[in-house]
Symmetry: C2
Amino acid sequence: MTFEEKLQEYAKVAIKIGVRLRKGQKLQISCPIECVEFGRVLAKQGYDAGASDVIMDFHDEVSNLIRYENAPDSAFETYPNYNVVKSNELLDEDVAFIAIAATNPELLKSVDVKRISTWNKVSSTAMSRRRNALMKNENKWLVVTAPTKVIAKKIFPNATDDEAVKLQWDAIFKAVRVDNGDGVANWEQHIQNLKKYVNFLNDNKFKTLHYTTKDGATDLTIELPKEHIWAGGGDTTTKDEYFCANLPTEEVYTMPHKNKVNGIVKNSKPFNYNGNLIDGFTLTFKDGKIVDFTADTGYDVLKEMLTMDDGASYLGEVALVPNDSPISNSNLTYFNTLFDENASCHLAFGKAYPTNLINGSSMTDKQLEEKGANMSLIHEDFMIGSPDLDILGTTYDGKEIQIFKNGNFTF
Amino acid sequence: MTFEEKLQEYAKVAIKIGVRLRKGQKLQISCPIECVEFGRVLAKQGYDAGASDVIMDFHDEVSNLIRYENAPDSAFETYPNYNVVKSNELLDEDVAFIAIAATNPELLKSVDVKRISTWNKVSSTAMSRRRNALMKNENKWLVVTAPTKVIAKKIFPNATDDEAVKLQWDAIFKAVRVDNGDGVANWEQHIQNLKKYVNFLNDNKFKTLHYTTKDGATDLTIELPKEHIWAGGGDTTTKDEYFCANLPTEEVYTMPHKNKVNGIVKNSKPFNYNGNLIDGFTLTFKDGKIVDFTADTGYDVLKEMLTMDDGASYLGEVALVPNDSPISNSNLTYFNTLFDENASCHLAFGKAYPTNLINGSSMTDKQLEEKGANMSLIHEDFMIGSPDLDILGTTYDGKEIQIFKNGNFTF
């Protein structure tokens, strides 16, 4: 297949598997300016699939950096109302959302962390309705990526700019299963495989997951709410439409009980938090809360994030990804959560997906919390999977089942 | 001066002379993605001048073309409310607006003109408040340009892509007077020069202007409203702040009486109407209205534009630009109204600037119309100046004064 054929196939998978666009549905594409060529291909495929309109929203991270470096403090203290109005109108119109995520992980490393955390909090608060709606699957949404020179060079530091971008495209095409034959058919098959893991985990009704690594750096016990649901390989909206929110996706995931996580965990891949890299970190949990933490890189940023609100220092997601997933087998670090989380077991700081509880999408926040779901302005995945990770599950019946051995599913 | 120095100076002139940004004022930059580097420099200069925030709004004309070519008809029949909300909030906040105008003049040449005119009408109608506010100088606004490969190659067809862009930058730097010394000081001087023409024209209280060319292609008489005002070299907002809405600007302009234009006029440079080129056209006026027209290129587009609303086939502006202006002396056609209108006497289809009548900014539409001001959803300049254009003025006192001879001011 030529580059152009793979690019078209990638966009087709995004439209047909990712947001599974309905004829007559509107599509919004949030696109870094550097990824415009992929954005245009997505738009064209959207129209080919019957989009009633495609809204292109471009942003430029360098302009964002200029703002962080030069605007007065006051600029970060209020969020434009018109952005909220737009977001609400698009939610009301049942628009399908595609975001091309491609942030330079070191973009903001020289920026005052207080300024970043103020803006993150202000914008997250203003955009609560959107976050809640998407985490309840009220609308179809999708995160994909495309190369940028900066990221490509970080992944492939010894290649020239152009070669690095080409290599990143190759890695993406492989990870999103469009390098070989019919991408949509490949995905239908892959989704079936993920559903097998989902069914196994749901059938066994696990109460606790005990994570250990041979070096002792990780020794963590996570209790799951009684009514938890494992999901993976796509979701169903509250309007009963299938979609798949991440391309690629290799994970099966559920929610932990917010107050029932204990022990210590060490990350295994760098965590890109909105343009800041956090790495070499350990988290110590007591009754769900992070009571101590260390970090070789990005300690201050991590500290700001964990104190953004009460729920930021509790967990909202538990996800299992075998260590021999295609992305993991590439042996690359992508500095992009979308890829790195799909190469590695991960957890998430912050808000839990209501969809990971039986009837969760129709519960109030209070009801969700009573069942053990964490609430927060943030939801940030971080990677903990490694070739020596074991996970022992104990079911609500008291049966012990080895779920992971040496970084992979045992079944 | 290095390229970088000229670029910074250009941005500084835009901020300090163009929108004359007030400390604490917010700035919006409307930027084609291809012009992002200039957009970033503008943003940085905006912050240096004390901007309270800079809103970057990017757009991509190729995405726009994809939409025109692929979206269903219904997409062009309604305008998103959230765009109107944003526009209104920015007007209310007294934001200063900079638009980088760089449209490929042939972008839409293969698109159905009905579709374009529907969208132009729908969007212009929705954005009426913004157009009216800016044409009354309620807010400070500025149009500038920057090169794009497509336009650069159209201006310099024999150069390579990179050379053409470089040549276009050189032409822009020269036209905006930043290629030589202190750009802001150059502009202060230039504005004084334009004010001399403005004063001469206002002092003489002209009743009619009679345009003729030696070949007879143009023979047009335009009557001016009794209370007309000539303007040029910058304006003053209704809040009494000076700004200069175009960089470059070489024109002095007023409004014609909408019902008192008679004769024929031929254009002298191609007219880029939102991505369509109209050229080789003649217009025949009777009592202000275009009653007949021809065009070698873009006849259908011109026809759609003239029938968009009642006022589209009447004139809203009369502008005088000497044929030996710096832009004109470059002997280039820029395919960009911002430049070409400042190389040539021009007229505008559509709405008149209320500021071109005594107390016009505080009049209702009805009052403006009674004084002779045209109303329309459009305001589109087209070029008629040439080296053999003569303009004879007759004052309200009946005195005849030759204003232009062979394309230049006689005084």
